[in-house]
């Protein structure tokens, strides 16, 4: 029996959590992964759990639970995001920071924006899991980075690169800076 987390106190009891081999009780080496898509003290909205042991075919046990409901984007978070994306002309939600990007795709977009010499605000989504999940819904976009220009979702890395190549991005940013 496993008890995970001080909050919400989830207890998972796999059928073969412990068993006896040659009269010696053995605790199943259970790999347990819990991904919280919400912060402590909030209702648990989504988690996935994979749990397996490898003790031969009849004892091998593998089960994956996955619960997901689209509720990471609370009305409060939506309000906050509305303000954030309109507070600056260019806002980049990314993994890491502008000086220390923690993902190649995020880095690419930072370098493009730097090269265009436009002021931009970055927000590190790795620091806040709730924000990270909520943003996916807010933008209807499953991955990061996410670029916002004048409060509008512009795109992810591929779209930004493409628009940079065609000159569309420069045009849009120039317009945004003048407005």
């Amino acid at each position: 029996m496993w008890s995970v987390g001080a909050f919400n106190s989830i207890t998972i009891t796999p059928p073969s959590a412990s068993f006896v081999v040659n009269k010696v009780p053995i605790n199943t080496p259970t790999s347990l992964r819990l991904h919280y898509f919400c912060r402590p003290l909030r209702p648990l909205r989504s988690f996935s759990l994979s749990n397996h042991s490898s003790f031969g075919p009849q004892l091998s046990y593998k089960r994956t639970f996955s619960f997901r409901c689209s509720a990471a984007l609370t009305p409060e978070l939506k309000n906050t995001l509305d303000k954030v994306v309109t507070s600056h002309k260019v806002v980049l939600f990314m993994k890491g920071t502008r000086d220390f990007p923690q993902c190649g795709f995020s880095n690419t977009v930072v370098q493009i924006l730097k090269s265009l010499n436009v002021p931009f605000e970055t927000i590190n989504i790795l620091e806040n899991e709730l924000l990270r999940q909520g943003l996916k819904e807010y933008s209807s976009w499953p991955t990061f980075p996410q670029l916002y220009v004048e409060g509008e979702f512009f795109g992810g890395c591929d779209i930004t690169v493409e628009a940079y190549k065609t000159g569309e991005l420069q045009e849009l940013l120039e317009k945004a800076m003048c407005s």
Binding site: T64, F105, G156, D158
Partner: protein, 93 residues
């Protein structure tokens, strides 16, 4: 965990009926990173952002496990034809 190249291909094929599809597993085995090129009539009249949204929607289930999806090309059959022709060397007169 992760998804296979075949799963990605089959979802895209059934939902977008692509004229051309190339899926490359860039994850190094864990199945969480893919690069794709897709040509479909479903992109007709759509901006690039909307086209990417179409692809993301087609892969909604898979995206739960994919961390990086790079859409290198999302073209209409017409654009694809043009692009291929422009890449071909001019035939000698």
């Amino acid at each position: 965990m992760g998804v296979t190249k075949e799963q990605v291909e089959s979802s895209l094929t059934s939902k977008l009926n692509p004229a051309h599809l190339e899926v490359i597993d860039t994850s190094g085995g864990c199945g969480a990173s893919f690069t794709i090129e897709v040509v479909s009539e479903k992109f007709e009249g759509k901006r690039l952002l909307e086209r990417h949204r179409v692809v993301n929607a087609a892969l909604e289930e898979e995206m739960k496990q994919i961390h990086a999806l790079s859409i290198k090309k999302a073209l209409t059959p017409e654009q694809w034809k043009q692009q291929q022709e422009s890449e071909k060397p001019e035939p000698a007169a």
